[in-house]
């Protein structure tokens, strides 16, 4: 009885989880958030710690500036699927600092820092932008033996094989740090060179002061100013519901709630996440391909993005208009698409 009940709950839960694609996720977001799909499409799944981080610039296509890349070397811990190339694996992701005070962030590509402990679903290290399955979806973060998604939201449950993560990232995941540019590199930034010129100080004097005064690293923070939201629009609060006319009346205003079932507070223990992943890996019929490290010293060829002509597709014919609709549509158009039409 209990297992039947649980199955019923899960069936409802699964039905309530939408399947769609957000701006940076693959076609089927349900697929991207599906652990079974992550496992199936991965050639290597492992838990590792980012031990070495390097930043290098790729040359873009003609007319493009440099495209910074992050080269990360993980010490491989537990392997859950496939075979690691050794005790370490080196991978490359688009984005990072250019070493001269400028940074590239690409939507949908995770930022990995030295010391990060992650559970990674690796597809192909030869990918020009991101080696992970569905990129950001193929990385889970680990803190205190608990699992978070790539953006630091606690993973709360795995319903069937769909990962549910919710909520704000813990403090350690809200900041990332990059090395302060070396003086000589910073001077190659035209904006800085202009400042040096305007301050009328010698290069050597600037170097001495820079090396004494510059912060050791540049810290970026994901800001969640929820507490500040009340300060920018006067008095704010929930909508007040007045008295309706006739038999109608507004119900109590409700905040945004999710229609997926209640899930635990999370985060999910790593051991449970690993157990589910291993079970899914054991069930996979596809043999994972070999995964190799990239050469950290190799010339980076940035992803090519060719300019393309669009293809216009015909819209399905709208349903026939109800009698009298033409007059209303005409009045609506003449009223500047304002639905309040003075008769």
């Amino acid at each position: 009885m209990q297992s039947k009940s649980l199955l019923a709950v899960v069936a409802v839960a699964a039905a309530c989880i939408s399947s769609s694609a957000s701006a940076h996720s693959p076609l089927d977001k349900g697929r991207a958030g599906d652990l079974a799909q992550l496992v199936e499409q991965s050639n290597l799944v492992f838990i590792g710690t980012a031990e070495k981080i390097a930043y290098r610039n790729a040359r873009g296509d003609k007319g493009e500036g440099v495209i910074p890349y992050t080269i990360v070397t993980y010490r491989v811990g537990q392997v859950l699927r496939g075979k690691a190339p050794g005790k370490e694996i080196t991978m490359r992701l688009v984005g990072g600092p250019d070493g001269r005070g400028r940074f590239l962030s690409v939507s949908g590509v995770p930022v990995i820092q030295k010391g990060d402990q992650d559970l990674l679903f690796v597809a192909n290290t030869k990918d020009a932008s991101c080696p992970l399955v569905f990129c950001e979806y193929g990385r889970f973060r680990i803190l205190n033996e608990q699992v978070f998604d790539t953006h630091g939201s606690p993973v709360r449950a795995i319903l069937k094989s769909t990962v549910l993560s919710r909520g704000l990232p813990p403090k350690p995941f809200q900041t990332v740090q990059f090395p302060t540019p070396r003086f000589d590199e910073l001077m190659k930034n035209p904006e800085v060179a202009e400042q040096l010129k305007s301050q009328k100080i010698s290069v050597e004097d600037a170097r001495r002061r820079y090396e004494a005064g510059a912060p050791k690293y540049l810290e970026f923070t994901e800001e969640f100013p929820a507490a500040e939201k009340g300060s920018d629009a006067g008095t704010e609060g929930p909508p007040t519901a007045g008295t309706g006319t006739g038999s109608s009346g507004p119900g109590a205003p409700v905040a945004q709630v999710e229609t997926t079932p209640t899930v635990p507070a999370g985060p999910l223990p790593l051991s449970e996440f690993v157990a589910v992943t291993k079970r899914l890996a054991a069930a996979s019929k596809r043999k994972p391909a070999e995964v190799r490290s990239v050469d950290p010293a190799a010339v980076i060829v940035a992803a090519k993005i060719s300019l393309t002509v669009p293809k216009q597709l015909a819209a399905p014919a709208p349903p026939p208009m109800a009698p009298g609709s033409a007059e209303e549509y005409k009045a609506f158009e003449q009223n500047g698409y304002d639905p309040v039409i003075r008769k």
Partner: protein, 382 residues
């Protein structure tokens, strides 16, 4: 480990109880409310990363957006994004030269190739942060690239019937474009409420045959936080038939609003011209759900909201009014709520109608955008 992988047996039991308590309502309002207020941005050295100027030119490729349909579409996308209460505005310029990343220009184009693991669009964001006898932090460039390759199929217009989630199969350049333009403001993804920085193609205003992209309350709030409010104040209230339904990673998921019976159960559904309609009886009291937003600068009080029955999906004051309510709305949250309404006894049986809502139906608020003041949910009178 069972099929439901949870923390431990105690929590599993508690979880089961909670779910069973609400099982009857299936996908109705069930879960625990999340943190509602939402927008998020990036800072470096304690300074928000933002453009030095609140007006930025976005150069659109004439190859990817040739004159006519596509150029009109991308211009419209930028114009729709600009319909927000902040000082920030993109101006659009058609660029017949080459486009590229990190070339000192904000650009938008469509491409094919190894863009990003099958993503429909991406934003390359370049910014500056360094210390040189003071902190220097600013946004430099955003390049928005749509994937014009398989499997994506785009529409650049506002025809509802083209769109996925309605009767078509195409994805709107305009909603995804608004999302990516939000990244240009360094607005991050948001997964805690209905908003454009979540699942963008389910963040859209619909009335009649037109589906319109818009920035929405949360991005409006974030843009004012970063760039200040424009003068004169931009006021805009809106109502949509979409609502928050949960999250996938850091993206909010959205679903259409529904109609409940007066006991709170979702009414039986039926297809009405390709959209989900709700079966109602004449004389039945129903709870009509819609989402109300204040996308403008200032709190609005005493907003008159009217509820209508229409014989088509275009809701205007030409339609028959069946109820009203008064709301106050502030720009600090998105509100999804229900209103009790009685289905008139004289409607024709076995007939489709549209239950409509018009916010500010007395036209009392001087708004910058009036076209987003009405929407509908299809119904079928048994």
């Amino acid at each position: 480990m069972g099929i439901l992988d949870m923390h431990n047996q105690t929590e599993k039991s508690a979880m089961k109880m909670k779910i069973f308590a609400t099982l009857a309502a299936c996908c109705a309002i069930l879960g625990v409310p999340e943190l509602a207020s939402a927008y998020s941005y990036k800072s470096c050295l304690g300074h928000a990363i933002k453009f030095g100027s609140s007006t930025q030119t976005m150069n659109a490729s004439t190859v990817s957006f040739p004159s006519g349909y596509w150029e009109t579409g991308i211009r419209d996308t930028v114009n729709k994004f600009n319909r927000n209460p902040s000082n920030f505005r993109y101006t659009i310029s058609m660029d017949s030269g080459g486009v590229g990343r990190n070339n000192g220009q904000n650009e938008v184009w469509g491409g094919t190739g190894s863009i990003l693991s099958g993503a429909p669009a991406i934003a390359y964001q370049y910014w500056t942060c360094y210390w040189f006898f003071g902190d220097h932090v600013h946004m430099d460039e955003v390049d928005v690239i749509f994937d014009y390759g398989t499997p994506w199929q785009w529409t650049a217009d506002t025809v509802k019937s083209s769109l996925i989630r309605y009767t078509g199969s195409l994805r709107a350049i305009q909603t995804t474009g608004a999302h990516e333009l939000g990244h240009g403001l360094i607005l991050n993804h948001v997964n805690t409420e209905y908003n454009i920085m979540g699942n963008d193609f389910e963040h859209i205003h619909v009335n009649g045959s037109t589906a319109t992209a818009y920035t929405g309350e949360d991005a409006a709030d974030g843009s004012i936080f970063l760039y200040g409010a424009r003068s004169p104040a931009w006021e805009d209230v809106a109502v949509v038939h979409w609502k928050y339904s949960g999250a996938s990673g850091e993206y909010s998921d959205h679903t259409k609003t529904v109609i409940y019976n007066n006991a709170g159960a979702v009414l039986p559904t039926i297809d009405v011209n390709g959209e989900t309609g709700y079966r109602v009886n004449r004389g039945q009291t129903v709870r009509a759900e819609f989402t109300y937003e204040n996308n403008g600068a200032n709190t609005q009080t005493g907003i008159q909201v009217g509820y209508y029955i229409s014989t088509n999906d275009l809701i205007t004051t030409f339609d028959r009014k069946i109820g009203s309510a008064v709301f106050s709305l502030s720009r600090d949250n998105v509100f999804t709520t229900t209103v009790n309404l009685v289905i008139p006894n004289d409607l024709s049986p076995n007939t489709n109608y549209w239950l409509g809502v018009i916010i500010d139906d007395n036209g009392a608020i001087r708004e910058s955008v009036e076209s987003n003041n009405a929407t509908y949910t299809p119904i079928h009178v048994n």
